[in-house]
Subunit: 663 residues, 2 copies
């Protein structure tokens, strides 16, 4: 499920006392009344462009009420390198002093205040210094002086220079929401053990280096996919629903202080080719965060325009569009309410010389020399299981990418899109190489829906794509020049805890009796998904289950659930919808009476306005193969994935002479 | 929770059709009617001693009924190296032909048969060849010929020689049940972030190499702690509840075919010192599997005798007892029903020259030159949280290790035991070095009880012990000679998915309203466990939470639950007991009315005879530091942990000249 879109008065989470780690906060990155964005403890690649915003808050009421709600407009700010002399921000960066801005926002101090509808109102005075960069590695201290004597400081670190390109190409696979637990379960479904020894393995199992990365966001310990993708792509964590910016408290989602992303850097510095492939709609968080700079991930149309034309409201790194862009989400391309300013983005991309593919046949036929746009359906891709096994479910959809009624036909899979992307990027990147991000989006989307089979099917599709990609890079003789990184943006608290005898479960009437169908420990047995059944063929070849619908299935679940039923086993008629509202228009969710009617009821652990499962805390795995692979061992923050890739691509430069190559 | 003890007629899990991966099986490692143990696909360290059993099954009734229930007693068996000429087992190993054995066992084909009490009966003819070894690396084929024409073959692999010792010492930490998810949660509780950057880290976070190991057992995908420990210690997977043996179908739990363990090998080949430290009772699976050879982990007294005196019913590698043995479980040492043959094992150990410590003061004072036994309580150790924060809970216990009434006083922690163990082992091992296994047992035990705070407290104690161990090894100037490996034996499906406002939860009456106390995504906020609260001091120093009982706590859970209530936040009065029976003597579990009475009800997903959570499937992390550390990157089977350590210790020898050094 996507976290909910917030009202234009942006700040919603805030605090009980100023200096601690509460659930509700005035502004997550700003425990004091003065805010520096980027805040304390942030790190930068040398030469990476960013904006700096200062805010001074004057809470009018509530536990933090101050100065009668009058924000200090006379604040000043300085920056000092190491122990050096502080200079004003304008002097240091040789900028004109920006105009003062003011606005008001509101938040609730806790659930009681929210329930009582007693918001706290905050007046703000602010300035933003746009498009700066720090070229010299080391420590910097930024100080905001306000209310005659108050001080907020931020310690910033500029990472070491990294000017040498160690890998020509990078392929970055993201299994959205993918955890080690899910990888283990996918292996169990698709690969057979004989007396405890797997007879074949996942492609992931053969990666030489494994690491763990921490997915939390800048101001909360559970992330969404926008700010976690942004951290992976920019080295800067952000706030839930934001990408490519540090979220400020202003109402405009497009005025927040930006940070340059990996593809902006790569294009500017080396002129390499880059592409994004996803089974989500292209404006979804993971693909769009490569180019997006917005406080709100829900500004879909505008974000697609940013991908093609770059940031247009401020001077920023030039963006001439991706070399490859393959995914779903025709809504943002068809002219209409979903597209930016109602324009036809198929036409806008075509104007810039893109080939446009709306199905797999066109995709295969597209030139490898032209920039390539492929939009294969509206919304997200149907999942692998429906595309390959329960194909009749596709016919029920109304997702033709051309805007015609009816279902998208002749869809490529993640593998077809990724291999074609490599062909185009290899051709277009030439000596400058390429960067490709390829996302298996519905691991996450189906875990949200508690549809474990569909999630694991898409995980296996990702694994199969990785296997084919390695093979493809070998054929192109560029495997040794290519760093392959596979990771996730966050997790879900999923695990398998036994098997379930679906025959027994279905034969029992009582909910408690049904639960006795579950076998744990010695009764978990072995995977029946890998046992061929006479007369049953799924035609899915090796590396996928031989049987998706055995009598004994995995019993799996997670701690975070809406009210729902469990019956285990695959839903043949389409993805699950575990919870439903009873009253029309209500956001109070109960067991969906149509979902798993043979199952037993499990009442939820989540707030009753949640219709699905939610993201979880766990560190997620990182797999690496190729140049720089050893850098990815051990445990680190998600932003470090960016710095490791940026280091391998030689993107950290100490002068601005490489700037704006793309212009 | 410990999987339940099975009846003497051992085999309970079995199959619907002969050749597949079912939940119920006649004998998990034996899908055909002829069984070779060790079965197909097994691997061996060169020179590692083991037994070979053959069984021929004659099912009397049920779907597999054969030969009127008459087992073929004229079976023959051969072994061939590579493509070589097969020799009879007796000839190949230069053994006398063993006596034929026969027995009968029963099993149920599925839940319906179990419910109807219609067992399938199997008659067995068997032979066992004891104490053999394969010295030459390569492939071997073992063939069992039976029923005039039936054949069961087993392909065995002997791993490459490993004769060179690359590490003088190995310290192997096991966090029982510990997953990456739990490590992430423990970090959140004990270490503070500022704007997304941790200001301090776990000791584990600083390990240079991370890997993943698969924990499944030989015949089921969910393991218990006996056979998973055994896999880590011997390179041979086994069956739930078994250790140091391949489980056969005979009624005697001590006649199953054995495999030599790491400490048996190490003592025999190099004469090094070894020790085990655990916060469990010493006869519990993880510590006892270092020396135990039994089909049943529940033969506690006999297993302690095996640890001290070695295998006594058959000729086997000599075992003169560990150099260090620190843990709980006085029941197996005090003379009485819990000890082997009712003997006083304090006296038995003392007779062999052990110092005996029953509290922390005695432990510190014990000589580093003598073998050391330390038994500090009956049953398992109270957890870190009760030993250090809620100490009043200790007084309620009746666990004095001397057998006196009342509670154990002056308990050491895992850190004190481990550091003392290193002192003794370093002294006693001398030039031959040492092997130490140190287990944080109650990560698992408290996860079973859904007591997340207590589990994470013990995980933090493990992390603190690792930190102190590295420091200690540095001081002794042996850090560079010591391989440190940290891993787990299996997981639990735990994760954190948000925060909970305990004040709001407690203020609400209705279960659905209480759930709205949970904050997800942007409402998860930051950890309040690291926020100092005026007037509150837990005196637990850095690397542990400053506040165990904040208003906003983690909301966590798992998919596998008995009926229970959730209220989140720590239970100050002692470990949780989430489910209870209503009818005395019944094994039908419901919400425990005494547990979390302010919480909301979550009905379970497990069979109703389960009182606690269960183990899960997930691969578990491996952390390595020191000589051979790079071998531990990537993804592998749990048995590979043994082979990697054995390789680093030079335990794979091509001749038997090193045999029985210990005798």
């Amino acid at each position: 499920m996507l976290p909910k879109l917030r009202s234009a008065v942006v700040c919603l989470t805030a605090s009980l006392s100023i200096a601690s780690g509460q659930t509700f906060r005035r502004l997550g990155t700003c425990p004091e009344l003065g805010c520096v964005l980027p805040p304390d403890q942030q790190e930068f690649l040398p030469g990476q462009q960013f904006d700096i915003r200062f805010e001074v808050h004057a809470p009018k009421n509530g536990s933090e009420a101050f100065n009668n709600g009058v924000a200090d407009e006379k604040f000043t700010a300085t920056i000092a390198k190491g122990g050096g002399r502080p200079k004003s921000i304008a002097d240091f960066f040789k900028l004109k002093e920006p105009t003062l801005e003011t606005w008001t926002f509101s938040w609730h101090e806790d659930l009681f205040a929210q329930e009582a509808k007693t918001p706290s109102i905050v007046n703000v005075a602010s300035k933003i210094y746009r498009r700066v960069a720090l070229y010299e590695p080391g420590e910097y201290t930024v100080t905001l002086n306000y209310y005659s004597g108050k001080k907020t400081t931020a310690q910033w670190t500029v990472r070491p220079l990294a000017t040498k390109k160690k890998a020509k190409n990078v392929v970055f696979f993201i299994g959205d929401g993918m955890t080690t637990n899910m990888i283990t379960a996918a292996r169990l479904l698709a690969h057979k053990t004989v007396n405890g020894k797997y007879q074949s393995l996942l492609a992931l199992d053969k990666f030489p280096v494994v690491g763990h990365q921490m997915s939390h966001s800048i101001d909360t310990f559970i992330t969404d996919s926008a700010n976690s993708a942004s951290a992976l792509y920019s080295g800067h964590k952000s706030t839930v629903n934001a990408m490519g910016v540090y979220a400020d408290s202003s109402p405009d989602p497009f005025d927040d202080p930006k940070v340059e992303t990996i593809v902006e850097l790569l294009k500017r510095i080396w002129g390499s080719a880059w592409g994004a492939v996803s089974t989500a709609f292209l404006a979804d968080a993971t693909p769009i965060a490569l180019t997006g700079h917005s406080r709100s991930r829900y500004t879909y149309g505008a974000l697609i325009d940013q991908a093609l034309n770059g940031v247009s409201n401020y001077s920023w790194t030039k963006m001439d569009g991706p070399d490859v862009y393959f995914g779903g989400g025709a809504e943002q391309f068809l002219p209409g309410s979903g597209s930016y300013q109602g324009k036809d983005y198929y036409a806008e991309f075509a104007k810039k010389g893109y080939s446009i593919s709306l199905n797999n046949t066109a995709l295969s036929a597209a030139s490898n020399r032209d920039k390539a746009l492929g939009v294969f359906c509206r919304s997200n891709f149907p999942v692998w299981l429906d595309r390959n096994i329960f194909k009749e479910n596709l016919d029920k959809l109304n997702n033709d990418p051309s805007g015609a009624k009816g279902s998208a036909k002749d869809l490529p899979g993640l593998k077809e899109m990724t291999l074609k992307a490599i062909d185009v990027l290899h051709t277009r990147g030439g000596q400058q190489g390429f960067f490709l991000m390829s996302e298996a989006a519905s691991i996450d989307k189906q875990m949200h829906a508690l549809d474990y089979d569909r999630a694991l099917g898409d995980l296996l599709e990702l694994d199969d794509t990785i296997r084919a990609t390695i093979e493809k890079l070998k054929q192109l003789r560029i495997l040794d020049d290519t760093l392959i990184v596979v990771s996730a943006d966050h997790g879900h608290g999923f695990d398998v805890f036994g098997s379930a005898d679906t025959k027994y479960l279905n034969a029992k009437e009582d909910d408690r009796d049904k639960r006795n169908a579950v076998g744990v420990y010695e009764n978990s047995g072995l995977s029946q998904y890998v046992v061929a059944q006479p007369g049953v063929s799924y035609n899915t070849g090796p590396n996928f289950p031989l049987n998706w619908d055995p009598r004994y299935v995995i019993a799996a679940g997670m701690g975070a659930n809406p009210d729902h039923r469990e019956a285990y086993g695959v839903d043949k008629t389409g993805p699950r919808s575990p919870a439903a509202t009873i009253v029309n228009g209500s956001s109070d969710y109960y067991v969906n009476p149509k979902d798993k009617p043979n199952g037993f009821v499990v009442n939820g652990t989540l707030p009753t306005d949640q219709s699905q499962g939610v993201h979880s805390l766990t560190d997620v795995p990182v797999y690496a193969l190729g140049p720089c692979q050893d850098a990815f061992g051990g445990t680190y923050n998600n932003i470090d994935v960016f710095y490791k890739i940026a280091d391998c691509l030689g993107l950290g430069h100490g002068t601005n002479k490489t700037e704006d190559r793309g212009k």
